[in-house]
Symmetry: C2
Subunit: 215 residues, 2 copies
């Protein structure tokens, strides 16, 4: 009845790659690594087996901050620390001194089966970066949200690049065959991405990041 696990080659490789990896990889980080050994493996196979292996107790599936689940080869009791900027996850060992247990009258009627402790902050790498660039705030490297340019955004940005001085949205509208409203809307988006600056009210110019984004 207690079905035993069939140890396929794929499973062996997944396990061994996870074991080599001390970074709590996500499913697709692991997929990228496994693919080097087994180029024909499917992403679904990785997901399926991570699920099966964690249910079998050979690995642990972590619930950590961020959207993606992460996997841990280390089965010992330990906690984690999470970088809010690059989403890296490291181990933390509280040395048993804090085995938080919840007094029954505090548990709100729950049958408590465990407790998860997670510290968060900036990892060493991200601390350095943060010190250098005091302006980009925490937006930059984290997601695709900033980098791309839509067609309209590119059109407006190219028009701005051609201007010698800061200019108003009317000028851009004339140069691009877009409605002034549309231009205003695009400029707002471009400002958010840091590609456009406003040296004076209603005057805009392309930033060096903006020029870089065009090429």
């Amino acid at each position: 009845m207690d079905k035993q696990l069939r140890m396929t080659h794929q499973r062996e490789v997944i396990l061994s790659e996870l074991g080599k990896c001390h970074t709590h990889p996500t499913a697709d980080e692991l997929y990228e690594r496994v693919k080097k050994k087994l180029p024909r493996i499917s992403l679904a196979t990785v997901y399926r087996n991570l699920e099966i292996l964690s249910e079998a107790g050979l690995i642990r599936k972590l619930e950590v901050s961020g959207r993606q689940k992460r996997f841990d080869w280390d089965l010992r009791q330990h906690d984690h620390i999470y970088c809010v900027r690059c989403h890296r996850v490291d181990n933390i060992d509280l040395e048993g001194k804090k085995q938080l247990s919840l007094p029954a009258h505090e548990s709100r009627g729950y049958k408590v089966s465990g407790c998860r402790i997670e510290f968060f902050g900036l990892c060493p790498g991200c601390r350095k970066i943060q010190q250098k660039t005091r302006k980009g705030e925490e937006k930059m490297g984290c997601k695709t949200c900033g980098t791309g340019l839509s067609d309209k955004q590119r059109e407006v940005l190219e028009a701005l690049a051609k201007c010698k001085d800061a200019c108003g949205s009317k000028d851009i509208a004339a140069a691009t065959s877009l409605e002034p409203k549309q231009v205003s809307c695009q400029i707002t988006a471009l400002k958010k991405k840091g590609y456009v600056a406003s040296p004076a009210r209603c005057k805009y110019e392309i930033t060096s990041e903006g020029k870089a984004a065009l090429s």
Copy 2:
């Protein structure tokens, strides 16, 4: 420079609904509530404003287990407990007695900005349910994964329903114009859903759940 927040009607309603709600709703739970007051509001507006309001510090965005982000109107320091079965989230108050702080030599070079504590287990409601149905395990109510039937699954299940006794996949293959391999595959899926049982090796019959699923 510190841009002030424009308090639109939509934002007021979102805030007040969140305030009335002590259940740490997800974005779309909140959307359903807000829609009763503002039927024309867009889901995107709810998401956008939850993000903005939490960045402004008027509400808190929670990182809890499960896929969805949740929102909390209570800004005081407190922790949470999570039901692994129905995903409900309740408040826990550790009364400051555990302000876990990480000794510097343990922080792995991180600049720690906080700590999140989350208990998990079964909420009172789910404890009762679990006691009654000792067989469905924890699979049942949680996601859509079990309920539906694909065309092929339905075809096989209907053929099984017509059989008086348990029968082999060959018989089904004959009755359905499907290849035996395909039948075997569908039966596996149907067994996983609990719609088919196997009284003897290589013999299958439809379960009462299976009959219910057909109608």
